[in-house]
Subunit: 366 residues, 2 copies
């Protein structure tokens, strides 16, 4: 099933009409990729509100000479102009067409904006932030397919790592991180989602620890937070293991985080406020008296970016919709001692969320 | 030899005074790292023009609660405020102090800027783009030491790869790229500079080819463009090998690019216009009748970013100064057949440039 870029542009046009905009100048490269399929490093896109699917002759994409062949192949359905100053060129196109033109004010710098104003006149350039990002929150089945592949790739790599004894006393965090990343490539990843976190022993209490030369030891928690990229889409998963044998305090904190994570997953229903999803997981940890050790929000959207809307935290706003793909990742961190985080990537569905990261969450002693 | 952040701030203050600015609000994280040493992911910095080294009590850095310990350790010499909205907080601080406050208009989005204006009043917020980037062009010896380490790491990794027969018929581009990246880590890299380019056979004619499953074959050019990161600084090097035995056309194009590259290096002198450095290398290729096959600029600055000022190309402006660290990387690309690029990272010095990437540039058949 191919991506339906035309349908995405049609959805964007409905937002433009609602805002009385005649066009949107899209300059964020991920938003352009989402709306057209183009993956080059220089592009701008002018989406004209009055176009209709199959009749998009006033919608124009622009890139530079390096991408003449690529843009013809990736975006056969739109007029493609070639100009090194892609955004400035489309400001000119928009100026000739007239009307109210929105721009991505959350991405455009003051310097760019100042350079465009003489071309178009300030009153016709309207801040229109996050219109495409808002559409991107709800994934279509093409996108979910890629997210599913990315998550499967991460699952397979982790299973391999554990099966070959990759988590053993005496190895460094860095060595484990590199092996896990290599295994993701072996299983078909196009890239990694972010710098892999491997945190052993006391380091596991640091939420976003960078791997060091620290050596894994028997009795340690080992926390792995990592992901694979497939077709531009990111997976995100955290698992925490115990090396050798688990002490009682480790079993207790693991069980607590697992219960909180299950509560968070259980609250992932369409119509639920994201702050309530966070609260569902947080209440479990609060009730155990460890609320102050859960140092971050519960999760975030994931897609073309590793972190995207919605943010699922205490201050989060809005409610969930079917098709949103998010993480659920509570953690409890005892500074100087160790911590546990358990994280899945899931799709919000009508009845219950679809779990994309399928590695077991039972306490695993390796 | 440690980094002298105070001296860097003093140099910035001279620029502020010259522009009649009372302060600069720095929001770019790399610029903050350069001026303070802080490496966290949320920060802003207000550099007040009237401060002096040893007496910087009106210069303030700000980050959020996650970094309380880290900022105290990394920036012991400045007042550090803790506020999640770091930039908005420092706009308040600046508003209380009054005066003309510059901001990084090439980095600040229109949305951020609009959110600050009510706090400070539009006429006191002055676009002041690229002040820190301009200082960053000239590296101090601390920075050159890290660049030297990064380049040595890349040299050692490539030597290892060749010595162990890593460039052999039957391997995929992807496998070679991963081995080279792993070897950089083995030799002490903190990270890689960018996604490694390995391009074999006809793919070597694509300047920025991404590694694929294509298999190396005898008679191929194999082009490797890669780098290591050490302490935040990037190396950048390209070498092109021939597998098996070199055909006459391959020897010819290699010799041509090598001569052009030597001409470019030879022009790297303080006071030389960057456009003339490009021209020195380009003339060699033009004279051979292949000017239209040299598809890109000659080089770029390298430091905390893999690509930074100055751009060394036909449209480049400005002249070189002692301490600038740049690449020289001409290429000649025969579409569908193969191409050669040879790239070094060098420091502009008083008499002749210092070569940081020391791998041989003699034609090497492996």
């Amino acid at each position: 099933m191919p991506a339906d870029h035309s349908a995405r542009r049609a959805a964007l046009r409905r937002e433009l009409v609602a805002r009385e905009l005649d066009a949107l100048l899209v300059t964020d490269l991920l938003n352009i990729r989402y709306l057209t399929g183009f993956t080059g490093s220089n592009a701008a896109l002018l989406v004209t509100a009055s176009d209709t699917p199959g009749n998009e002759d006033r919608t124009v994409v622009c890139t530079d000479g390096r991408y003449v062949t690529q843009i013809a192949a990736q975006v056969p359905d739109l007029r493609a102009d070639i100009d090194r100053a892609s955004a400035a060129h489309l400001v000119d196109v928009a100026a000739r067409a007239g009307g109210r033109v929105g721009f991505e004010s959350h991405m455009v710098t003051v310097e760019q904006w100042e350079s465009w104003r003489p071309q178009l006149g300030a009153h016709d350039l309207v801040p229109a932030p996050r219109l495409v990002e808002t559409l991107r929150m709800i994934k279509d089945e093409y996108e979910i397919g890629l997210l599913r592949e990315a998550c499967a790739c991460a699952d397979a790599a982790l299973a391999d790592l554990v099966a070959r004894g990759g988590l053993r006393p005496g190895r460094t965090e860095k060595a484990v991180a590199r092996e896990l990343e290599n295994l993701m490539f072996d299983h078909g990843a196009d890239g990694i989602s972010f710098e892999t976190i491997v945190a052993a022993g006391a380091n596991s209490a640091v939420p976003h620890h960078r791997p060091t030369g620290a050596v894994l030891a028997s009795g340690d928690f080992v926390k792995l937070d990592f992901g694979a990229q497939v077709g531009g889409y990111h997976s995100d998963m955290t698992r925490t293991y115990v090396l050798g044998s688990a002490a009682e305090w480790q079993r207790d904190v693991y069980a607590l985080v697992a219960r909180a994570q299950a509560a968070g997953r259980g609250a992932l229903n369409p119509g639920t406020a994201v702050a309530d999803v966070d609260a569902a997981a947080r209440a479990v940890i609060d009730d155990a008296g460890h609320g102050e050790l859960f140092l971050h929000g519960l999760g975030h959207g994931v897609g073309l970016e590793i972190h995207e809307a919605p943010g699922i935290g205490q201050r989060g706003t809005g409610t969930l919709s079917v098709g949103e793909t998010v993480t659920v990742e509570p953690g409890v961190y005892f500074a100087g001692r160790g911590g546990v985080r358990i994280e899945d990537t899931l799709v919000v569905r009508e009845h219950e969320p679809e779990l994309l990261t399928r590695t077991t969450k039972d306490l695993t002693v390796v």
